[in-house]
């Protein structure tokens, strides 16, 4: 791994995918928290 060819491309893909998926996950969780406060508990059937 230390002498990886095209290491920059590999790192960019892995880090970029992690950042995109992680950022999207955080966005969804935030939206869920915000909306959950506006909706009665009985409508949150997973709670």
């Amino acid at each position: 791994m230390m002498a990886m060819t095209h290491g920059g491309y590999v790192a960019a893909v892995w880090l970029g995918a992690a950042a995109l998926l992680g950022g999207y996950a955080v966005t969804i969780l935030r939206r869920g928290r915000k909306l959950s406060r506006q909706v009665p508990t009985e409508e949150r059937r997973w709670s």
Partner: protein, 322 residues
């Protein structure tokens, strides 16, 4: 299905159920001072277990994909990009498939849950399509010598991504919710046919893109590279499922919040109407101030329409609770 809100003004969709919520203090879609009980988020025990499994699988993927798996004889270390790219592309297809099936079921059943699932599949699918295009172009640079080429596979994938963006943009139009969901569902039906075009494009047209790696009994990779790819599928599938479940719950909450807002708006409108009903000697009759002894000169159609009556005897008005 016909909605029957108390005022009869709902848009007639099953996405806007009609009962007034009994959740404490939700007027205006805001929490009551005491707040609603229960956890205010989209998580549950199942999603926490799923999230934990996904994190473990991602850790194993990093270990296998970046450390254990050897470099390829031809692609060298850029083969490690495949452990992200191929699973992401597959889950893009899965997201499109979910959206198409859920769109069809929504058009058939008109159940709000299918509409929420269709939207969720499209949005999560779009995220994975971005990962697919991003990783593919970064793989193409060291392998093909270019980030992008208007090849059949790449172009059709870009078209599919544009279709997903259009689908999600359509869902954000300021339309009647029922009409908006119907139009989006019709567009959602086109996703799977497009996926078939993307998937078959390397066979239907001359393509620089390689053929399928696993879609035959003798896969072109083996050993630790095959294991790394399988772990990639597993990890990405767990992440996809976790995202889809949470996104579905967000879509569900959006539907419920819209309903709460609609109920609150109806209540406010009715309260305004009740306040506007003129009472004897109220402001509604003060503006005319007819001369003493003369009959009021009011257009007769105003009284017939149920508007503020300025008849000679305001106590004759109907419909005003006493």
């Amino acid at each position: 299905m016909t909605a029957t809100t108390p005022a009869g003004t709902a848009s007639g969709t099953s996405a806007t159920p009609t009962s007034t919520t009994s959740g404490g203090g939700l007027a205006g879609g805001r929490p009551s001072p005491g707040g609603t009980p229960g956890p205010a988020h989209t998580g549950s025990a199942a999603t926490r277990v799923l999230g934990l499994l996904a994190l473990v699988a991602v850790g194993v993927l990093v270990l296998y994909g970046l450390v254990i798996s050897p470099a390829d004889r031809e692609m060298a270390d850029s083969v490690r990009i495949m452990y992200v790219h191929v699973p992401a592309a597959t889950l893009l297809y899965v997201g499109c498939f979910i959206t198409t099936v859920a769109s069809g079921l929504w058009l058939w059943k008109r159940t709000p849950g299918w509409d929420a699932l269709a939207e969720s599949g499209a949005e999560v699918g779009l995220v994975f399509s971005i990962v697919t295009l991003f990783s593919g172009s970064l793989w193409g640079r060291p392998t093909w010598g270019t980030y992008w080429v208007w090849d059949a596979r790449l172009t059709s994938t870009a078209v599919l991504t544009a279709l997903l963006i259009g689908y999600l943009a359509l869902r954000r139009l300021d339309l009647d919710p029922d009409a908006r969901s119907t139009r989006a569902a019709v567009l959602g039906l086109l996703l799977v046919p497009n996926v078939i075009v993307v998937n078959r494009s390397v066979e239907w047209w001359r393509s620089i893109h390689q053929d399928s790696t696993l879609a035959r009994l003798d896969p072109t990779i083996e050993g630790d590279m095959l294991v790394a790819l399988m772990v990639g599928f597993l990890a990405m599938a767990l992440v996809f499922t976790w995202l889809l479940v949470h996104r579905f719950r967000v879509a569900w909450l959006e539907q419920q919040a819209d309903r709460v807002d609609l109920d609150a708006a109806l209540l406010a409108r009715r309260a305004e109407a009740a306040d506007a009903e003129p009472a004897p000697g109220s402001a509604a009759t003060a503006g005319f101030d007819p001369p003493a002894g003369s009959a009021p000169t009011v257009p007769t159609d105003a009284a017939g329409a149920g508007g503020p009556s300025t008849g000679a005897d305001p106590t004759d008005e109907k419909g005003t609770p006493t």
